[in-house]
Amino acid sequence: MKIRNMRHLAAIPAGLVVWATSAVAMAAPKAWEAPHDASEHGHNIDWLINITNLFSAVLFAIMCFIMISAFIKHGKKHSAEYDTGDGKNAVMMAMAISAVIFVIVDGNLFVNSTKDVFGTFWNFEKVDKDPQTLKVEVQGRQWMWQMRLAGKDGKFNTSDDALSDHELVVPVNTPVLLQLASPDVIHTFALPHFRIKQDAMPGMINLMWFQGKEEGEFPIVCVQNCGANHYQMAGTLKVVSKEAFDEWVELKVRDSEAVWDEKDAEAHWGWAWKKI
């Protein structure tokens, strides 16, 4: 079997690609979407990811267009043009194209990422000072998430803490600041619907904050491999109304006061809120 014309042969893979793409699109219509954004600030990250992917798609399409044109026009029958490409103009042109792409695509990423990170996502000082902010200590361990709210005295590791396993309840439209730690291996506290994640690291206290814009239940996921049951290290983030939240805290505080045992060191895994 001798393949004479690459162009005819290329129709087979091209057809296969179209078929496979449409099969996947039909099988999984919602697979092309990012998770629903339930956070106040997540849209900044979505915008930056989407615009960068759009730039990438345009650049890649241009590359494919040039390659395919070359395949069609400059095949075996075309006589090659001797061009070493190290003339001054050619080099200046290559540098200029690279510089323009760099300034637009990478520049946009740099400027907006810097703005988002320092202005919002890692601007912990501002959130810490905000009297509205709900402060929570989170401990990830093999294989569960444990939450601790300070209660009325505003101090952690005391008898009036609100404790809960697997479940984090927070009020809507309120900044929530977490301090994360781990007693065993590294875990990562991820909120896919809030576009944010942070490691819970043994020996360190890490920070993370978010603000829910709507009520609802959202998954808490551990995304750093942490052993056999890593995939089951799930939790639920419940974003509720201010009233429902106060009610929930009251209930939890009553629970933990009832079982408070001064000597049970294991139960007092919290820490004095780390200064920011």
């Binding site: 990250i45 090659a80 001797y82 190290d86 990422s113 291996v185 043994p202 052993g227």
Partner: protein
Amino acid sequence: MVELQPIHAPPTSFISKYIWSYDHKVIAKQFLWAGLIFLALGGALAYLIRWQWAYPGEPVPLLGGLLFPSNGGAMTPTAYNSTFTMHGLIMIFWAITPIMIGAFGNFCIPLQIGARDMAFPLLNTLSFWIFVVSQLMILASFVVPMGAAGAAWTTYAPLSTNVGMPGAGQSLVVGAIFVTGIATIMGGVNYVTTVIRMRAPGMTYFRMPLTVWGLWLTAILNVLFVPVLGSAGLLLLMDRMFGTQFFVSGSSAVNGGGDPLLFQHLFWIFGHPEVYILILPAWGFVSDLVSFFARKPAYWYKGSVYAMIAVSVLSAVVYGHHMFVTGMSPLLGQTFMIFTLFISVPAEILFLNWLHTIWKGSIRFEVPMLYALGTIFVFGIGGLTGLPLGTIATDLQLHDTMWVVGHFHLTMGSAALLGSLAALAFWFPKMFGRMMDPTLGKIHFWITFLGLNGVFIGQLIAGFAGQPRWFYDPYHYEFLKHLQPLNTAVSHIAFVLIAGQVVFVINFFKSVFAGKKAEQNPWNVGTLEWTIPSPSPVHNFDTIPVVHHGPHEFSHPEYMKKLGRDFVYQTEEIPAGDTSEGGGATDSGEAPAAQSA
């Protein structure tokens, strides 16, 4: 130079010829075989992973009964963790590295710079056999109690210490990484020295094929950064075996306590250059092959060289982008982010040069060229999808998702694999003295190229939709349940891709033993290895060649008129004499049969 490289009598005994050989070409083939066997092993593990994502917890056909008899042929979460860990480690350290650097580094460097062998032939032999020891350690890790390593390929402490992985398998694997590191450093020292000291007269740095540039820069990075990995591995072993606490902290440390973050710094200061260690040789192969098969000089050769050097230098100062969510200081994160973004400039230069090289060429779609063009395609997608992973804000969402998995499988997986296949198809005649079957080659190319794209673009989509990596059962989560049809479809593409490798195996064995006899210069290319017979004699060159040209003198109008063919051997002296000034290329069709230079 001649007396430095004497011609030895060829070895006669079986052992000295095939087992304990000092010949760089034999060692190259040994690395090739060793790498291909482990590539198959890594592929089998990939099959297990893909099965699990399509049909979680269901018995695995073909291999399940053998591997997981106690669980009815289905994977357990522990077995799954070992599977993805070993898949990653095997593919990186024991499949791609030996094929790309061990086989083609050994084969191409002396032949392309005009040397009779490596600078240190004994070191070369030792490098291979130490590498084999590490492979045996990997195989042993599968059969010890509690199974092989399961702390992911990144081996993050404290999970990789006794806190998370008390079994002997993890120790064996960390030990194997250390041992293969020794082999890599030995090979690296050899390559670096050989390129500096053994180049033929006239073979200036800027006359070296870009393949040699890629392999040389890779060797330099290996020599600089593999020792860091070795030290991290050694400290980890001490934590595991002698009760030290370099990487154990928190309540899991009985007293005092080290820093788990230290391990990540040590790992990634090696780990990021490693990404370029695996792609630089592929860039070199591709840069040469697009020129060879478009019958045009490599466009802005020096630009490609500078770009590869720039990437090698930058690779050392960007590693922090793997650690944005570890609690890194924002200012430090910002610094790593800027350097990461800078890498896109040399990458753009390389892409522009490749496109310019094929533009207005006379493209021959031979099998090596198909693989090379496929490499450009997958590296294009892989590179561009890395942009939102290199900046902090976007990484907050995409970090540790399948987006990352798709991205690095397209760059250091698919691009490195297709680049290696391009190199194998191209140098096969010189290695084995026979041609590979082009029809089987084209069938294998299309299966592999489409398969790789289907699988890893599918992973990018799943990651964009929020699916984390490292999940035994992603559908444990409500918000990921709708991704099962996508993952199942992608798994089926992966099964076809893996099964399709049979075509390669058939082609490889058929060609090694019964392929068409190769001519001296089947591709009509002017680099030094094509001036000697196929397969190359043990001493490579009867006389050390003298080099007069760069490696890519194609379709030069004046030379075409004089020589009647469109390429010039690097060793050829073009006689001065009457030439018609400004004569353009008249015909760049088939070059006449190659002559001995």
